[in-house]
Symmetry: C2
């Protein structure tokens, strides 16, 4: 079996690594010269809007999936005419627009922060008057890792913001006083079966994920599962989906979804009976879903912008090194380290030891 992946970054690379023991082969559609996934499969060099390339991908592969959400709906629909292509176009379209996404959450009864749709400066002024400050204004599309957003703390921050963010459609979100952020990750098969990994607690630095640690028995696991299941069913989703939430005194508030494998689920490669990558491959390929139990205490730390001393990390007990084969550049995710231990106390010590070696350059 051969799977086609639109995109050739580290998520595609780790999907291929997960598919290798299943003897599944991969083709990556990516416009760059040597995307990091190309070390693990065929590389079709073309833009994701190139109709000829999309047709070739469909011809070569038994099923198609996506490494990111910014694929034009028409392209996804064209692929889906020829081959099973998951997740469906409507899921990608929903996730790439913060307004559409949060409106769906509200429609499904999933609690969200106060929000307003902003199409000009007057909308922004009115929304700030209603929601109050502080608040966060974000571009509706194309934002990631804290890019394309601005925190509004006082009235003076508001004036001129619409022009400053490029006169693009925006969303204003009331500032949430949250305790921490978690991500729920689940996978849905072609037959509609859903399986949930334990939620992970996330820690960010400068808006970029720094660390994720699965939390079996988290008191809000059930609430997160209900929310993710509602979204998956509504979108007729197939594959792995991540859902980020703020944990507040009143329970979860929905932040955003990612219609794909997600950085906060990388711990599952070693830490779960079946990883988010393998289960995504299984779902897209139409295979039965695997067990999502966390096997041992573990955590994941991102390597961003610069590598720590590799040999020093490898020499620590319970570390697993993931080098994505990408050139280091400030702010760029170039790898991650999984830390494993037989108990929570040892895990905390090991995570601290790895963290002390990191030399991340967040840019």
């Amino acid at each position: 079996m051969r799977l086609g992946i639109v995109g050739g970054g580290q998520l595609g690379r780790m999907l291929a690594q997960a598919g290798a023991p299943l003897d599944i082969r991969f083709t990556f559609l990516d416009p760059s010269e040597a995307p990091c996934a190309s070390a693990h499969g065929e590389h079709l060099r073309a833009d994701w809007q190139d109709e000829t390339a999309l047709s070739r991908l469909a011809e070569q592969c038994d099923a198609i999936t996506f490494e990111f959400e910014n694929v034009p709906t028409a392209a996804v629909e064209r692929l889906a005419e020829h081959r099973p292509a998951f997740p469906p176009a409507q899921a990608l379209a929903t996730a790439r627009d913060r307004w559409v996404e949060k409106s769906l959450f509200r429609e499904l009864g999933i609690a969200v922060p106060p929000i307003a749709r902003i199409d000009d400066q007057a909308d922004l002024d009115a929304a700030v008057a209603e929601i109050g400050l502080p608040a966060v204004v974000k571009t509706r599309t194309m934002g990631y890792d804290g890019k394309g957003q601005k925190v509004l703390r006082e009235a003076a921050d508001v004036a001129g913001t619409f022009a400053e963010l490029g006169e693009m459609p925006l969303i204003l979100e009331g500032f949430i006083d949250f305790d921490h952020e978690i991500s729920a990750i689940a996978v849905r098969g072609r037959d509609g079966e859903i399986r949930h990994w334990p939620v992970a607690r996330n820690e960010h630095r400068q808006g970029i994920l720094h660390r994720s640690e699965p939390q079996p028995g988290h008191p809000l696991q059930r609430q997160a599962e209900q929310a993710i299941a509602r979204v998956m069913e509504k979108l007729d989703y197939v594959g792995t989906l991540a859902f980020e939430f703020f944990v507040t005194g009143e329970g979860l508030l929905a932040n955003e979804i990612a219609p794909r494998v997600h950085n906060s689920g990388h711990w599952s490669i070693e830490g779960a009976a079946t990883s988010q990558f393998e289960n995504h491959v299984r779902a897209v390929a139409g295979l039965p879903l695997g067990d999502t139990t966390r096997l041992v205490p573990c955590a994941m730390l991102n390597v961003i912008g610069a590598f720590p001393d590799r040999d020093a990390v490898l020499a620590l007990p319970g570390t697993r090194w993931h080098d994505y084969g990408k050139a280091p550049r400030p702010g760029r995710k170039i790898g991650h380290i999984t830390v494993l231990a037989v108990d929570d106390r040892t895990l905390a010590e090991r995570v601290a030891a790895v963290d002390a070696l990191l030399v991340n350059d967040l840019g």
Copy 2:
């Protein structure tokens, strides 16, 4: 970094899978058209005695290793002149001759069954008179999976045996009344550091490994570690080495070593903090060795000759499917299944469920 592997079978394939997250690339030297490892690296199609091909492998790669022991000593020594090549030629030479191997064990004070060197029928008759029956006669070289051997139960079995086995150098071994077989697997780094995985209990069918299960806390772990360390130090070994023992009322009796990653260590891919494959890659590449702790109860079952219903296996909890990408043929190892569980009782139930689905064809 690029590693060269002499041989392109499933062991090479799994070495490449283990090296992928470390961003290590692979080149396989193998005479067949499409060896199964070639899905995960460059394939240099040539015989392992082809001097030009060996030179090209050395030119392309930073270090070299071997997937099996039947590589001519001269070829290994030629490679080692140009690049780090591990394990050393003397280790391969020792392991491929049962007489040399067992003589080394005796020299190192490691208990072995009664043995005799056989170069003609008269040697065999004399040895049987001394060691007694039943006994097993084996070719000194090229035997594996129970091939190239004959059990001698009564006097009538002895006559003509030397001719029957092709007039090759043989070894006679007294029949051992053992409780079970274990394999000890360890890895030694370029700096001489040795790490041991827990010994695995092995079950064979028709002389072919059927199942291996790691046994942390096995009462003979320490004795096995001492034996393997003596052999590794004597041979100035670098890489993963497996050592099979018979467990008897008087402790361990040495059976044989394999100077490479071994079928009885496949459980370590998911079940250990660092697998036998990753640690072999680390050792050969000169990286620090990883933690060999068993993380969770687990076992490995071989898939031989024919695949069971894949989807039925994948649907069972805690199973991990390894398809080597080889065409099924009776007696051929074409995959394995790792079974994981959070406790021993659940593991036993899951192993029984997987075992019931197997349709192995041992030939």
